[in-house]
């Protein structure tokens, strides 16, 4: 049993799609925010998978013999992107919750003043 980059990208695609579905399906804006970490987590999985399986390989082609050189992986740039994306997701959810609470209060105030 083994897992390849295709398996990793399948899982990442499923996470992104389920996150998009959660965001689109929820009527409540605060509940819809739960889809953001799912989508960002899926993107982070894709970045980490590329860093694990395929970094720098595409550029390592030797022209004269057209032989593909299987080299070692480079710096884990994908892991770095996954870390930054995870932090950005938390910040986005925090800001979104604050803005949704503000909008809900404005909505309630307008309803009360119209009565």
């Amino acid at each position: 049993m083994t897992a390849s980059l295709v398996s990793v990208l399948f899982v990442a695609a499923a996470m992104v799609a389920v996150g998009a579905f959660a965001t689109a399906w929820r009527r409540d804006a605060t509940a819809a925010l739960a889809g953001i970490p799912l989508m960002f987590g899926g993107a982070g999985i894709a970045f980490a998978g590329v860093a694990r399986f395929a970094s720098r390989a595409a550029a390592a082609v030797r022209p004269p013999s057209t032989q593909i050189v299987v080299s070692v992986s480079g710096p884990p740039l994908g892991q770095e992107a996954a870390v930054l994306i995870a932090i950005a997701a938390l910040a986005l959810v925090a800001m979104g919750i604050g803005l949704a609470a503000r909008a809900a209060r404005t909505q309630v105030t307008r309803q009360e003043s119209s009565r």
């Binding site: 897992a3 990208l9 899982v11 996470m15 389920v18 999985i45 860093a51 884990p76 949704a100």
Partner: protein, 162 residues
């Protein structure tokens, strides 16, 4: 990837996707936050099986923070969607996103390399974050500060209203 890592990858993937589906469908903020935490454990497990242990730790903390924020007791609902048609179109769009991404992954001709990093990769990621791409790190730090400032200001405004 050897068999133990592969088993960990597939089990973690099932946990992550199952938790994500429950986040999308479960009613109630407590259940939804618990499902988000389960999805975070799955995503962290996937990252750990991909030899990205440091990213897994950060992802776990991030999902836990999001779950705590979404489970706040002073939750106030705010409807933002119009009708059911837009929601159904959104669900259809999510399915199309999955199909297109899965097709791109299936058709992609990827070259593989020998992975020479450790299980955690903390030192390499730290070098990238703090030396090579310090500007990106600072940009994310500024975004976090802005989010915290917005959250604090809105919280203070709410307390004043009370």
């Amino acid at each position: 990837m050897d068999s133990p890592h592969a088993i960990g990858f597939f089990v973690s993937s099932a946990i992550a996707i199952g938790g994500a589906v429950f986040v999308a469908l479960l009613p109630g903020r407590e259940l939804r936050s618990a499902a988000l935490m389960v999805a975070g454990i799955g995503v962290a497990g996937v990252d750990a099986s991909l030899s990205a242990g440091f990213a897994a730790a950060v992802v776990l903390v991030s999902f836990a923070g999001c779950a705590v924020l979404l489970a706040r007791p002073d939750y106030r609902a705010f409807n933002w969607t119009g009708g059911g048609t837009w929601r159904q179109l959104g669900g259809l769009g999510a399915a199309l996103v999955f199909l297109s991404l899965a097709y791109a992954a299936y058709r992609g001709a990827f070259a593989h390399v020998q992975f020479n990093g450790g299980a955690l990769g903390t030192a390499a990621v730290g070098r990238l974050l703090l030396a090579h791409d310090a500007f990106a790190t600072e940009a994310i730090a500024v975004a976090v500060v802005i989010a915290l400032v917005v959250l604090t200001l809105l919280w203070r405004a709410r307390e004043r209203d009370r």
